[in-house]
Amino acid sequence: MSEQVKQESQTPQNNSRLVLKLLLGAVGMFGFGFALVPLYDVFCDITGLNGKTGGRYSYEAVEVEVDEERLVTVQFRAMNNANMSWQFEPVESQVQVHPGELTEVMFYARNPSSSTIVGQAVPSVSPFRAADYLHKTECFCFSQQTLMAGEDINMPLLFFIDQDIPEDVTKLTLSYTLFDVTANFQQAASL
């Protein structure tokens, strides 16, 4: 009985085929792990989750209607990551805007240390569901800012609130965390 029914599945070739498939599966899952990185970003972008605001937004004055009836309060916060030594604060801590109205506010930053430092501001909006409706056309957070020792700067933020922002959102907070990224930009720092 044992001789005649040598199942097809017991051949060495079948073993190698299966093992190869499984190995490819494992490699595929490793790639999937890495694919989760951009997937996560795409998911957050589409849904506005996690308070991430989008990148630069282009403002077509013709297409955007300003909703004069509504006012939305926008609070501004500026804070440093623990290693960052700059003075960093919003010039105005809060504004009231109409949805659709393009507004400019300034943020002040100063490098009190004795060496050139490159900073990166990272924005975050609360509540998260408002993040999708805050459009920045110009922001210092789009790029790194380099300040030499003692140098200071007024950085502009141009933004508007989308007219479609839900009725029940009357206040939102835009916070910036400032990080020291000099180590990533050694060439820039030495200029």
């Binding site: 494992a26 899952m29 792990g33 990080f179």
Partner: protein, 536 residues
């Protein structure tokens, strides 16, 4: 039961290429025999269990009373981290792999695993990996101190230099697991004896087949996340760093995408073991074999879509929280089905209470209890009060210790006579069981109350209102911990002496492994057995 035409001791004469195992240390270094490799895994995991247990006793010693008496907070964090890593990756997982190696070929009537040489390598990676990991304790920067869940940026920007050794150790363990899983899948799918269809396989084989697929799917993701860590730490990337456009929460998503299936990887084989033991000592067939297979598969599938219930407080949007709450709650259904099936097996059976059965019954009781607290944790708004407190610690220790660990001990007691040819000492075994059972409940039950009262996890010192239950818990820890020395004694004694075991060993046993002699010959089923119709 014995008319399966199986090969037994006659193997040795028919098989020309082997005259029994070689002698000395080279036997163990170069073995490709599934029984030897199974033994290696089991001894290794026992050693790791004692090591991880020692770390736990340091923790419970410090927590015996409020105040910092014995260790510095940074060392305490190293202890909690290493306890978790060693127990998960060094004790529980290798033990299950060891049991798989020993038993799966015999249970399906195969002569060995599909890839015996890779099997050897899968094992020997582990002592290297754990030596590297444990040696960080002696390095100046100390061992990893960021929790076994190693969230970024604590584990990247703020980690001690030894984090790189940690990453490489994880890579090695992952490679070992992946190779082991490939081996197990190939063995089960390709080497079953003719007539052993999938729905006739013992449930232990089924649960391991499913577990192996889970491992194959998620260990590479773990490898991915520690590789991302490596890049962030050494090569200036920003996967988990907001300043470079990354996100610390991304770490948690990717980690738990691995981490949740991982805890099912640690329990499915336990389900399989218990499904072997209970029918034997109830002298009754397992109730609902088919639904056990479907339930296990559902649990495995569902385990992929619940991961963020570990992250309810991280700031996920409402829709996300609700989805993960619902999907987590649903897992209770197939899990409940399994519990009902075990109880229905015992119901109207003819039950005896040898040590394996004692462990299996307490598995059913205490794992189910851990399941209830798991359901409580699934309720997202309530979880805001439980998350990162001792309530969570109590939950997962109930499912892992009287859950997974008890099932491993049950399996060891159950199959020791088959491995060694000797019965273990029943009196000492029962003593070990009762000491462990009492110790474990004294150790972990009060932790529910600590969590509800407000005690956070991973703290070396605590406010005064937590003192009494902490003292009780620590007493339980020492009772449970030292009782395991009794287990070591029982195992070693059984290897050397004991009443001679028969082939069947247990009165109600079924399955191919009980048709070969005890101890099982070095090579079994070199000629496939015939499987009669109607098994299972």
């Amino acid at each position: 039961m014995n008319n399966l035409g199986t090969a037994d001791g006659h193997d040795m004469h028919h098989d020309d290429s082997h005259h029994g195992p070689s002698k000395g240390i080279s036997r163990w270094l170069y073995t490709t025999n599934h029984k030897d490799i199974g033994s290696l895994y089991l001894w290794f995991s026992l050693a790791m269990f004692l090591l991880g247990g020692t770390f736990a006793l340091v923790i419970r010693l410090e927590l015996f009373q409020p105040g910092l008496q014995f260790v510095e907070p940074n060392f305490f964090n190293q202890m909690t981290t290493m306890h978790g890593l060693v127990m998960v990756f060094g004790a529980v997982m290798p033990a299950f792999v060891g049991l798989a190696n020993w038993m799966i070929p015999m249970m399906i009537g195969a002569p060995d695993m599909a890839l015996p040489r890779m099997n050897n390598w899968s094992f020997w990676i582990l002592p290297f990996a754990f030596t590297m990991l444990a040696s960080t304790l002696l390095m100046e920067a100390g061992a990893p101190n960021f929790g076994w869940t190693f969230y970024a940026p604590l584990s990247t920007t703020y980690a001690p230099e030894t984090v790189t050794f940690f990453i490489f150790a994880i890579h090695m363990m992952g490679a070992s697991s992946i190779m082991g899983s490939i081996n197990i899948i190939a063995t089960i799918q390709n080497l079953r004896a003719p007539g052993m269809t999938y729905m006739k396989m013992p449930l232990f084989v089924w649960t391991w087949l499913i577990t192996a697929y889970l491992l194959l799917a998620v260990m590479p993701v773990l490898a991915g996340v520690v590789t991302m860590m490596l890049f962030d730490i050494h090569f200036g990337t920003s996967f988990f760093n907001a300043s470079g456009g990354g996100d610390p929460v991304l770490f948690q998503h990717v980690f738990w995408f691995f981490g949740h299936p991982e805890v099912y990887i640690m329990i499915l084989p336990a389900f399989g073991i218990v499904s072997e033991i209970i029918p034997t000592f109830s002298r009754k067939r397992l109730f609902g074999y088919d639904s056990m297979v479907y339930a296990t598969s559902s649990i495995a599938f569902l385990s992929f879509i619940v991961w963020a219930h570990h992250m309810f407080t991280v700031g996920m949007p409402l829709a996300g929280e609700l989805f993960f709450m619902y999907s987590t709650m649903i897992i209770a259904v197939p899990t409940g089905v399994k519990v009902f099936n075990w109880i229905s097996t015992m119901f109207k059976g003819s039950i005896s209470f040898e040590v394996p059965m004692l462990f299996a019954i307490s598995f059913v009781v205490l794992f189910t209890f851990g399941g209830f607290t798991g359901l409580m944790l699934a309720i997202a708004p309530a979880d805001f009060q439980y998350h990162d407190t001792y309530f969570v610690v109590a939950h997962f220790h109930y499912v892992l210790v009287p859950g997974a660990v008890f099932s491993i001990m049950a399996a060891v007691y159950y199959w020791l006579p088959k491995w060694t040819g000797n019965m273990y000492d029943e009196t000492l075994g029962k003593l070990h069981f009762w000491l462990s059972f009492v110790g474990i409940n004294i150790l972990f039950f009060p932790q529910h109350f600590l969590g509800l009262a407000g005690m956070p996890r991973r703290i070396p010192d605590y406010a005064l209102q937590f003192a009494d239950f902490n003292m009780v818990s620590s007493i339980g820890a020492f009772l449970f911990g030292f009782s395991q020395l009794l287990f070591v004694f029982v195992v070693i004694k059984c290897v050397r002496v004991g009443k001679k075991a028969t082939d069947e060993v247990w009165d109600g046993s079924h399955g191919l492994e009980w048709t070969v002699p005890s101890p099982a010959p070095y090579h079994t089923f070199t000629t496939p057995p015939s499987i009669p119709e109607g098994s299972h």
